[in-house]
């Protein structure tokens, strides 16, 4: 594959936190315009990987390299990476005192027209007239806050969207909206990486990586990884891990 078609490359990416290896020599290539899933059980290192890709403080001291559109972003802070077009949606998004949803979307937006905020809110199934003036704070339910998070990503128009456990805290109806918005992001040119331990979320990806104990153990079509994940990881087949020689904490 031509290098310029890759949105993201991870080269022997490792990270230690508190003396413990959390990410262990990850090599992976992500093509532009594809919806990926990184799937794995709790504690596999998925969220750490998302944080390292976003360049969050405490996750910057990596070994190896991260290339975005062919250029190293290893030394860039989160805001610089965001300016390049990378963003992250948190599993449990932050809540802000005194900042309205409108303010939050406006701060995130690439094009700060009011119509864009309304479009994004409608896209996630929240009536802009009822919500834009509300605080982006603890008065929102978990599901509402999560939808606002997705709306804020939609108005940002990123090139690469990392979504950490996108289905967490969301009801079934809203989940459909969430997957619609993921497709919208893709249509608008964003590559997507879904960080998940959910087979349902995995289904909505095109390609997937299986992550286990800080490393990538397999990759391929989402169907293939889904089958493996279902058979070997739910619950975790420690015997298989031992046979494969995968390092893990007993």
């Amino acid at each position: 594959m031509n290098k310029t078609e890759n949105i993201l490359e991870l080269k022997n990416l490792s990270l230690k936190l508190g003396g413990k290896t959390i990410l262990n020599g990850i090599n992976a290539v992500f093509e532009a315009g594809i919806i990926y899933a990184i799937v794995g059980p709790n504690g596999a290192g998925k969220s750490t990987l998302a944080s390292a890709l976003m360049g969050l403080p405490d996750f910057r001291n990596i070994d190896g390299d991260i290339l975005f559109e062919g250029k190293s972003i290893k030394n860039l802070a989160a805001d610089k990476r965001a300016k390049l077009g990378i963003t992250l949606g948190w599993q449990e998004p932050a809540r802000f005192e005194g900042i309205s949803i409108s303010d939050y979307l406006m701060a995130s937006a690439k094009d700060k027209k009011k119509g864009n905020m309304e479009y994004a809110m409608n896209a996630v199934g929240l009536n802009p007239g009822n919500y834009l003036h509300r605080g982006c704070d603890k008065t929102l339910s978990g599901g509402e806050r999560k939808r606002v998070e997705i709306a804020s990503i939609l108005v940002m128009e990123p090139k690469l969207t990392l979504l950490d456990e996108p289905d967490s805290g969301i009801d079934i109806e809203a989940l459909d909206k969430m997957f619609e918005v993921i497709q919208t992001l893709k249509r608008k040119g964003s590559s997507i990486i879904l960080i998940t331990h959910s087979l349902e979320v995995l289904k909505h990806s095109q390609k997937a990586f299986l992550m286990c104990h800080g490393g990538i153990r397999d990759s391929g079509s989402s169907e293939k990884i889904s089958s493996y994940f279902h058979d070997k990881c739910m619950p975790c087949d420690l015997k298989y891990i031992a046979e494969q020689g995968i390092p893990y904490d007993k």
């Binding site: 969050l56 989160a78 805001d79 300016k83 963003t87 005194g98 701060a107 995130s108």
Partner: protein, 328 residues
């Protein structure tokens, strides 16, 4: 010391005098208002420069007796029983000179089932060494509501010292809400001291939103006594300090009656070499009363900061937005 002239403003039309019109204009301009805005006959106002009343207008049911003193004024404010004052009363206490002292002594009585909201603009835009003292005695009778929003404009040099002090009494079912906000300029020194006694079914809500920098000093000492059954109290402080500013917040709520409920909430964001302390004191002496408190002091919340940075805001822009929200 009480001076010469006693102004009885009850029922009198708007009055301008003592200082040139330009002083009135300048004082009002400092709080983003124009003299023409004082011509609304449905809105009461009182404009005081140092110890001179520059303008006043009353509405039915509101009475003010104002005495000019050497260094300020003494105002007795009465709201008649059952009076609902629709438009917020606009008060401006200010001083244009760079130096001086202004004392505001207020004696407020809200009659039964009356309702009033006051926006007090306190403006010292050129202050190099100004002391503003407000000493108020406020009684809110049964079923009455008194809301007092204090908006400060200070000079940029830090030469303002502000001492707002009040003793408040809430009778049965009365409501008292106050907000203190510095909207422009430097704190200098702000030393707030409020004490409120809350009767049966009454409600107290006090909020302060202040941002200090350089060598500003913020002191808040608020006490609420929930003495009446089912009384409510909420003390809320939102403070941000940077450089070498200092904030010390002392919030105390006591509850001694059945059904009394209170909450103390203090958030302080500290940057650079600034320092802050929060002392929430809660005392409960009735088994059916309950008071909770929370205090958070520290740097900007890292998750909030990271979220905004992941949307492309710089660290500085993110911190500014978070602090603006906190103080909003």
């Amino acid at each position: 010391m009480i001076n010469k002239k006693k102004l009885r403003l009850g029922g009198l039309p708007a009055r301008h005098g003592a200082l040139p019109t330009s002083a009135l204009e300048e004082l009002l301009a400092s709080i983003n208002k124009k003299p023409a805005e004082l011509h609304d006959t449905h809105t009461a106002h009182l404009v005081v420069h140092h110890n001179k009343v520059l303008g006043a207008h009353l509405v039915p049911g509101l009475k003010m007796d104002v005495n000019e003193m050497k260094d300020g004024i003494r105002a007795v404010i009465k709201i008649k029983d059952g009076t609902i004052i629709e438009n917020p009363v606009q008060i401006c206490f200010g001083m244009l000179p760079e130096k001086g002292i202004q004392k505001i002594l207020m004696d407020v009585n809200c009659g039964k089932n009356s309702k009033i909201s006051i926006i007090a603009h306190c403006s010292f835009p050129n202050a190099l060494d100004i002391t503003h003292i407000m000493d108020a005695k406020i009684n809110i009778e049964e079923g009455a509501e008194y809301r007092y929003f204090e908006r400060h404009v200070h000079g940029g040099g830090g030469g303002t010292k502000v001492y707002p002090k009040a003793k408040v009494n809430l009778e049965k079912g009365a409501r008292f809400a106050t907000e203190f906000e510095l909207i422009k300029g430097r704190v200098g020194l702000i030393d707030i001291n409020y004490e409120t006694n809350c009767g049966e079914d009454s409600s107290l809500e006090m909020t302060a939103r202040i941002s200090g920098y350089a060598n500003d000093i913020i002191r808040i000492n608020e006490t609420g006594h929930l003495n009446g059954e089912n009384s409510r109290g909420f003390l809320n402080s939102r403070i941000a300090v940077r450089d070498s500013a200092r904030a010390d917040i002392y919030n105390k709520l006591t509850a001694s009656a059945a059904g009394a409920r209170g909450h103390v909430d203090c958030k302080e964001i500290v940057q650079d070499k600034a320092a802050a302390s929060a002392t929430p004191v809660v005392e409960v002496s009735h088994p059916q009363a309950r008071i909770t408190h929370e205090a958070a002091i520290g740097s900007v919340d890292s998750k909030q900061l990271q979220t905004l940075m992941a949307r492309g805001l710089s660290e500085k822009e993110s911190v500014a937005l978070i602090i603006r929200g906190l103080l909003k």
